[in-house]
Amino acid sequence: MSNELPVYDFPEIEGSPSQQLGMFENIFETAKVNGVVSTTPESDDETYEVKSQQVRIQTVASRLWLLGYLPKKISPNEIEKNKTIIRKAVIQFQQDANLKQDYWVGNKTWYALDELVSYESHFSPVHWFEGDNIIGNAFVAINRAAQLRLWSLGLMDQRPTKEFSPIQMNDLSDFKKVLHLFSIKHDPNRIGLNRYSLQLLFDQDTFSIAIGKSKYPNRDAFLYNVKAVVNSTPEVDDISKLKELGRKFIVNCARIELWLLGFDVAIGDEVSNRLMRKMTTLKRGRLRKEMTRYYQLFEEQKKGVASDLSKRISPKFFLGIAKANKIDGETNMDDASEQIAINVKSTKEVSEAWNYIKTKGMRLFDGLKRVWRWIKKIGKKVAGFIKNNIFKAFFRYVSKAYKIVAKGVKNVIKAFKVYFKGDMVSEKSCFEFSKDMDTTVFLSQNATQENMQASIDKLRKQSKAFNLGCRIVGWLFKIFKELVQGYIGWAKLLFALIKSYKEIRILYQDFKTVATD
């Protein structure tokens, strides 16, 4: 599968207003069909259309592999020939995750996978839990996710595999020790395979904050709360093993934080015995190299200083991460679209972004909150920001903008159909529309207040959806036609989407309350 943007062979937009909007609509639809943008599939069949859904299929496949539903990782070039086994894995997952079993990866299945695998998502309590207990039909999927998370943190030896084996209480013993070692506030009597524990286990922000605080008062070295572990687990007598566990946890958390920020590290790689015995100098390798880059790009250190700092993993690293992670990662995240647009300045850069997107799969859908926090922390100076995060954010804003405009188009056409049909009937009343969109209202004298109000609500919902839908579509079209200069081909549409995002997002806040899908 080529990573080049597909061929763009549309002529310049010209002609009458309806012709121009028609041409634009054609370009917009083709973007979806050719996979230029990533959209939620509307059916089982569309889910596995590789041409239009490659990025999503890749992400789904990666997540299913991590959860043990696929025997091996599927590379982007192998998606087409592995569609059947991916499909089978989806149905198995849906069965295990309290979902409708229909092979379709719509929003419900997509978000279920996201909540189980992503480091930045939260569980939807209603879907997974009844009180503190896991819903029976979701037990297997949650179990697999817990095992995956424990493994990624170095607290379990193996990732989940095809042969399902549920977590036992003693599988949580290292997790319990680590909670004490790093003085993470919790109720030891409640630790088990339940909502309380899983929310702790899946809270990566809390781990980074706790590790950063676990330091000697006057030196940049880790201090482990061994006493707390021994008090809670008297049978523990090998302090050195406890510290090894702590170091293993630290190294894995460091990897996770770097991975989320877009650095080239692998989660779950073995931690060397050397590092576990003593947090000594990191050997020259990927982790050290990426940590150096982190200090340069995110902590704005000079190369020499960054290189020195990355010789060891120290509390200083986590203190920097924790400081950024304390920044609200959700509020006004959408405002970053303008800053991202500034950093994708040409057709060439848009193409680069697209090439990056096509190969990254699930990394596109994780870590965005952290990226936004760092944008807030560093301020407008995002030029030093790792380029791949710009591309990741670019992809997300383009996808969101496309989704909003697609809904806009749908609702505009839906409303047009009502106007052309010429009538809208409600209980005890009806509205007749002329060709000029004038209105004649007929009310039965027996209509109650409730009837009247229902009629008003129905009419206003439609006119508001039409109004907002038109404005959303019109805004994108205006940006595309007039304001995106210097971009050619698909890059023009992609850039127009991100440029229009801030405005259409505001319109969307009202639109989603009235639009019907």
Partner: protein, 111 residues
């Protein structure tokens, strides 16, 4: 139907979007659509009801967007459902909202 087809249809059908005319009638009316009674039948019944005096005009608004407008409200509202004027007012606002929406759609085309 796509946007282009919808707009072309609008183009041929619409005579005048620079004014908005809303009329609200009330009276003895059974508004029930069924499989054997489509809207065309209902429309014919309503037209007949107006002609026979069973449906009366409660309110009328004619708004010209270049200035003049005209409003009529029936004097005796005792046999009119409450909120009828509210329905009329909302129909006028919906009409304006629709026209403004179309303006927003053509924003990129108006120089």
């Amino acid at each position: 139907m796509g946007l282009k087809a919808a707009l072309q249809k609008l183009d041929t059908a619409v005579k005048d979007l620079t004014s908005l005319h809303v009329q609200t009638f009330s009276g003895e009316l059974s508004i029930t659509l069924s499989s054997d009674k489509g809207y065309d039948t209902l429309r014919a019944e309503m037209k007949k009801a107006i002609k026979d005096g069973n449906l009366t005009l409660v309110a009328e608004t004619l708004a010209q967007f270049d200035g003049d407008s005209y409003n009529f409200v029936k004097q005796d509202l005792s046999d009119i459902p409450t909120l009828a004027l509210e329905v009329h007012k909302n129909a006028v606002e919906a009409g304006i909202e629709t026209r403004l929406g179309l303006l927003g759609l053509f924003k990129g085309l108006i120089k």
